[in-house]
């Protein structure tokens, strides 16, 4: 129960790492604003059950990261509850595969809109809340490909590298107010995002990794939980690789 009674905002809760984080945080006693792109009956049903089982509240929020107005509305609905927000986990993001010369500016801008600008906007809104109560933990999702590079993924890797710079700068700006800011950099994790990796790429990556196997979304969620909790009280401005030891 590392987050008993804490209030948390998580984006990208529908599947993958976001979904695992949602479940793990609820099991650890957190109340959650669970953000998704769109409403689905299954999700509504699942979070009701998850909340009941763990004796927490889970409020779904639906918005499209491409639409700043929708983000603003969601942030407003959080503010209206007058609840302190203790943790923000920016998980929602998109991947994009294209060789450098084939990337159109429109695609490039879309990737940055979703993976960087929207996250900055939401983080601006939410950290204002944290500033008032002088404590908080913000967690971004970067990627090892932002550090190591990955052929065919320039737009994605550049956007995730931007997150690293933002994490470090935000950490130095907000630490004085008791707000820690960190990022995790997952390696090859079993999600939809990696489902389409060609077999030879997968083989090469696994051979490079120390543990020789893929990670599971839950293993990323556990590290996010650590950073969100008081266990990481002296950790800020860090990028934690969760990659089974690649490179």
């Amino acid at each position: 129960m590392l987050l008993k009674g804490k209030n948390v905002v998580i984006t990208g809760c529908l599947k993958g790492i976001g979904r695992s984080t949602l479940e793990l945080f609820a099991q650890n006693g957190a109340n959650i604003w669970a953000c998704c792109q769109y409403e689905s009956p299954d999700f509504t049903h699942d979070i009701k059950e998850l909340a009941a089982v763990n004796n927490v509240w889970i409020t779904p929020l639906y918005f499209d990261l491409l639409d700043p107005e929708q983000i603003k509305k969601a942030a407003h609905s959080i503010r209206e509850t007058k609840q302190p927000v203790d943790v923000l986990v920016n998980i929602a993001g998109m991947t994009h595969d294209a060789l450098f010369h084939m990337i159109t500016m429109d695609q490039m801008k879309k990737v940055f809109e979703v993976n960087v600008f929207s996250q900055m906007l939401l983080t601006q809104y939410i950290t204002k809340n944290m500033l008032r109560h002088k404590s908080g933990s913000v967690i971004f999702i970067s990627s090892i490909s932002a550090i190591d590079g990955n052929p065919g993924q320039l737009s994605y890797t550049a956007s995730k590298a931007a997150i690293i710079g933002a994490t470090k700068t935000l950490s130095s700006e907000l630490a004085g107010y008791g707000i820690r800011v960190n990022a995790v950099a997952p390696g090859v994790i079993k999600t939809d995002m990696t489902a389409n990796l060609p077999a030879e790429v997968m083989e090469r990556l696994m051979a490079k990794s120390d543990l020789k196997h893929m990670g599971l979304p839950n293993e990323v969620a556990e590290v996010i939980l650590f950073l969100a909790s008081d266990m990481a009280s002296y950790i800020t401005g860090q990028i934690i690789r969760i990659d089974g030891g690649i490179g």
């Binding site: 950490s171 130095s172 630490a175 004085g176 390696g187 990794s209 120390d210 543990l211 020789k212 990670g215 599971l216 293993e219 990323v220 556990e222 590290v223 939980l225 650590f226 008081d230 266990m231 990481a232 009280s233 002296y234 950790i235 800020t236 401005g237 860090q238 934690i240 690789r241 969760i242 990659d243 089974g244 030891g245």
Partner: protein
């Protein structure tokens, strides 16, 4: 209770970060081989008190890290119990501040002996046990000085940089056997090691950090719990900076 019934070796338990680790690991349900250089009544009493408070086993083990024969005997006393060894925390170390041109070869050798060679040897012994078990987590305590290279820290920093490199190589070699190896790089932490630094250097370092304060030993200990536990099951070969954002 992240380490319920796990068996853990921690070196340098008599003071500072190691002392905080001993209590934090015990509080999380771990049984601990608490290693220290010399046997004292105070240490024995602490071990006993923690054992009773948290309902865990604490077995004091005494050896001087610079004496490899003693170290070997210490290891034997652990491995001969036939218990699994789930976690090894190589925490014991010594500090040394001196300008590069003033650093003597004797001091260089002494610092490397304690901070690097002895850790290396202990890890060799214990990794064998862990590989047989196909599971284990080794945590080497390095330092932000091993990453940054600060003035006056050529000796200490180099020994800690060696620890970092060994961590990565060990992770690469032991990963397939289910043994994870990571390092924690503390920033400046409230321990007696601080007395070796001038107030000016301490104040300057605090100002450089995002959090503008010293770390507490228990904050390093909490990070060690994370790396020791299954919370970090897909994290290996990493250096986790616990430094308030230096």
């Amino acid at each position: 209770m992240l380490l319920k019934d796990k068996n853990v070796i921690i070196t340098g338990c008599a003071q500072g970060i190691g002392k905080a680790m001993l209590e934090t690991f015990a509080a999380n349900g771990a049984n601990v081989w608490a290693c220290a250089r010399v046997k004292t009544d105070e240490f024995e009493d602490t071990a006993k008190a923690l054992s009773e408070k948290y309902h865990v086993e604490i077995w004091p083990v005494y050896f001087d890290l610079t004496d490899h024969e003693q170290l070997k005997i210490g290891v034997k006393s652990i491995t001969s119990t036939k218990r699994t060894v789930d976690v090894l925390v190589n925490n014991a170390g010594i500090t040394y501040n001196a300008l590069f041109l003033m650093s003597t070869m004797n001091k260089l050798r002494e610092v490397f002996e304690v901070n690097f060679f002895s850790q290396f040897l202990l890890s060799q012994y214990i990794a064998k046990t862990m590989m047989r078990q196909k599971k284990g987590s080794i945590i080497n305590i390095s330092s932000s000085a091993g990453i940054e290279g600060n003035a006056g820290r050529s000796v200490y920093g180099a020994s800690k940089a060696a620890v970092i490199c060994a961590t990565k190589a060990m992770a690469a070699e032991l990963g397939e056997s289910g043994v994870r190896v990571n390092s924690i790089a503390p920033g400046i932490t409230r321990t007696t090691m601080l007395t070796s630094m001038t107030d000016k250097v301490i104040q300057e370092t605090i100002l450089q950090s995002d959090m503008k304060r010293l770390g507490n030993p228990d904050e390093i200990a909490k990070a060690a719990i994370f790396l020791a536990s299954d919370m970090s099951s897909y994290v290996t070969g990493q250096v986790l900076r616990v430094d308030g954002g230096l």
